[in-house]
Symmetry: C2
Subunit: 436 residues, 2 copies
């Protein structure tokens, strides 16, 4: 018997906390991305609560519609964990206790000073004809059952347990169509409006083609996704490479990084590009932040190894600390206000002097919702980049969005200014830049 | 004819970017929470791509299963926007152009310097027997159609457009069962392990009761949700209030805030509690961060109005800046290392002196993935709280999780230490606290 190819799949997430809106389901998106990158089309996603009838009915429907079903949740030790029993009902099977799973569960709990109670032992049960999937980081093993000609994988709900189980025990068992090729690539760009980039990329984004290009914007950073999917041929590969070259050409100096498919938020790519450019030059950065309150430092230090290029920073939230920490003259604050070219420049110069870093970035603005004026409305942010060996750059922005948007966009703006300076490229007027 | 009550509902999200895992669907969770808080049970959530056949089939299935269906996505101007046509197919209707929607769309685009093209005009089309729902913040109107005895609401995909449309045009049309009562309340606690809190709350979390209590843990903060749902009776109300009192009693001094249903992450509740406690005392806080790199400042300044109580901070990522910024003696760093009681204390004392704030919090630790040692493994973090008028408090933690977890838990730990001090309560050993 030749096993059915996994041409397409369905994803099911279960849990009362999901249908009550108490918890954001992130497993569906993550699994959809993993399946898509293997060339397995996701036909449908479903969410149901901890209800035996709904669970069995939905599993039955999905298993008869797709050769591959991946579900998450319902494998814990509480009365609301119904997945094991639902698989039995669906397949006419009975629950048995898996000896190896029970031993491993007992060892796991003992290593944390906890007991293997009767309730905990439920997690070692499985339908007799299913295979357990080892959980290396938690208590609940997963399940692999065959329902008709469909492979059903049941994974734990916590993403920290689901993801390693997927990588180690599910991904190797997938059977994507070998004649079907999928290639994907991400390109990042900054300092350009989405509409302008869309114009440049227009000819490349033809719907229904087997090579597609699409774009999303987040915090001033554009993520361009190129994707080729179809019969594995040299023509498809060549067209994909031509498309990548055309995207690079269209983005010009605004492109700052590329990557294969990535889970990371776009600002992480920008931070990595800045830290790498600094490291290449053997230089360091200091930050001085007012309205972002530490967000720029937090973003940079989220990257392991950032200490090689990031020295540290000042959070000069009050005017007094702009003077005490960054040596901004009180007369500058009095004459021009905290949100001004002069203050932004003095903040960055003060940080550069105090830290001995090669570059300093400062951010001072009105993040809202209050504090705006006719002259400096909410969203007005001054950003300065000063460097030991380059002329300074100070810009005013008028960011749109709420407080969180203004702060995130301020950080992206500052990082973009530094990145272009490190690359020796003049970016021109940046997205949201305001020329008073 | 008496309209059917909306006893339960289904939610559908559509878009290729969702089934390809390129975009996280946040609408399902948000809508589920809104429906649940009105006492409308969410029976199912579904996600399908931009595929006319799948969209019509799924809508048909959901509309025959629930008296209320809320879908999002597919209302834009591209060839992949299929919702309007799908509703026509489902109801045997034809598309017409809505004159008022066209006029409003034209005005919206003109106000942004754009033209009303034939493509854009598609967004003013609707099934002739449906009602348009006004979009106050974007281009695509929503739709309200009646399918058999089911109310079908079609909303735009972008959350910033969906949410106001829901509030203004959908929520008023809901018909929850008036005899059915729903009450919900959140309580937050810190400084206690989830398992210990679960023990204390055990008697209150009986599954299948009409008053339920459940708990989630995130970054060291526990969120306890109490919920009453059932026939509107004085008994139910009384039982709900008794349950809240019992939860408060069980959490004791660990409870730090309460709120009605909230979208905000739990750490935001902790930050708000700290800022309010400071404001009540007329006091200010400064921060000095090493491994968290600005995250603590960023979290506090995410709250509007935080400038009243938060002065600012230092990001002393390099050892050199621990000395330059926070006046940590080089001899302290040499003798004890950057991750030590002595350095944490010196950092906080330096910040307190330099800023003149009433309290200072310092964080210094090994966030990982590298930098750990046998003596100070990854996750080892020292946190100090010093105050002008209170004895200092310095604690060592051994946080579990990855770099992001360690950093987030460090911030929660620091905020918890300060909050208990401001409340004059000794929290005892905190979650993840390590007593060497």
């Amino acid at each position: 018997m030749i096993a059915t190819l996994h041409t397409h799949a369905a994803i099911l997430s279960t849990g009362d906390e999901l249908v009550m809106g108490q918890l954001q389901d992130s497993n569906t998106r993550w699994l959809a991305e993993r399946l898509t990158e293997r060339g397995i089309r996701v036909a449908e996603g479903a969410v149901v609560g901890d209800d035996a009838g709904a669970l069995v009915a939905t599993l039955r429907r999905l298993c008869s519609a797709a050769p591959l079903v991946v579900m998450s949740g319902g494998l814990g030790a509480t009365d609301g964990d119904l997945t094991r029993q639902a698989v039995c009902t669906l397949t006419g099977d009975t629950l048995i206790t898996d000896a190896a799973a029970a031993a491993s569960l007992g060892a796991y709990l003992r290593s944390r000073g906890r007991e293997l109670t009767a309730r905990q032992l439920r997690q070692a049960q499985r339908p007799s004809r299913s295979e357990p999937l080892i959980n290396s980081v938690g208590t609940a093993p997963g399940l692999h059952a065959v329902v008709g000609s469909t492979d059903l994988f049941c994974l734990p709900g916590p993403p920290g347990e689901l993801r390693p189980m997927w990588r180690d025990h599910v991904a190797p068992l997938l059977r994507p169509d070998p004649s079907h090729a999928v290639r994907a690539h991400l390109l990042y760009a900054a300092g350009i409006a989405e509409a302008d980039a869309a114009d440049r990329l227009k000819a490349l984004t033809v719907r229904g083609s087997d090579v597609t290009v699409n774009m999303t914007a987040s915090g001033g950073i554009l993520t361009i996704r190129a994707r080729a999917e179809g019969l594995q041929t040299a023509e498809l590969s060549a067209r994909f490479e031509q498309t990548l070259a055309a995207v690079r050409d269209a983005l010009g100096r605004h492109r700052f990084a590329e990557a294969p498919a990535s889970d990371a938020p776009p600002v992480e790519a920008l931070c990595r590009a800045v830290l790498e450019a600094l490291k290449d030059r053997g230089e360091t950065l200091a930050t001085v932040e007012s309205c972002t309150g530490g967000m720029l430092g937090q973003l940079l230090t989220a990257i392991p190894g950032s200490s090689a290029s990031y020295s540290g920073g000042l959070v000069t939230y009050s005017n007094e600390l702009k003077t005490v920490f960054a040596s901004v003259p009180a007369s500058t604050l009095d004459a021009h206000g905290a949100v001004s070219r002069q203050t932004a420049l003095a903040m960055a110069e003060g940080a550069l002097r105090r830290t001995g870093a090669h570059h300093a970035l400062s951010i001072t603005g009105v993040a809202g919702p209050d504090g705006g004026s006719a002259e400096k409305p909410v969203g007005t942010v001054w950003i300065a980049r000063v460097s030991a060996s380059l002329p300074a750059d100070v810009r005013c922005f008028r960011f749109t969005g709420d407080r969180a948007d203004v702060r995130a966009r301020s950080c992206s703006g500052a990082l973009t200014m530094l990145l272009f300076a490190l690359k020796g490229a003049e970016p021109g007027r940046l997205l949201w830049q305001h020329v008073p």
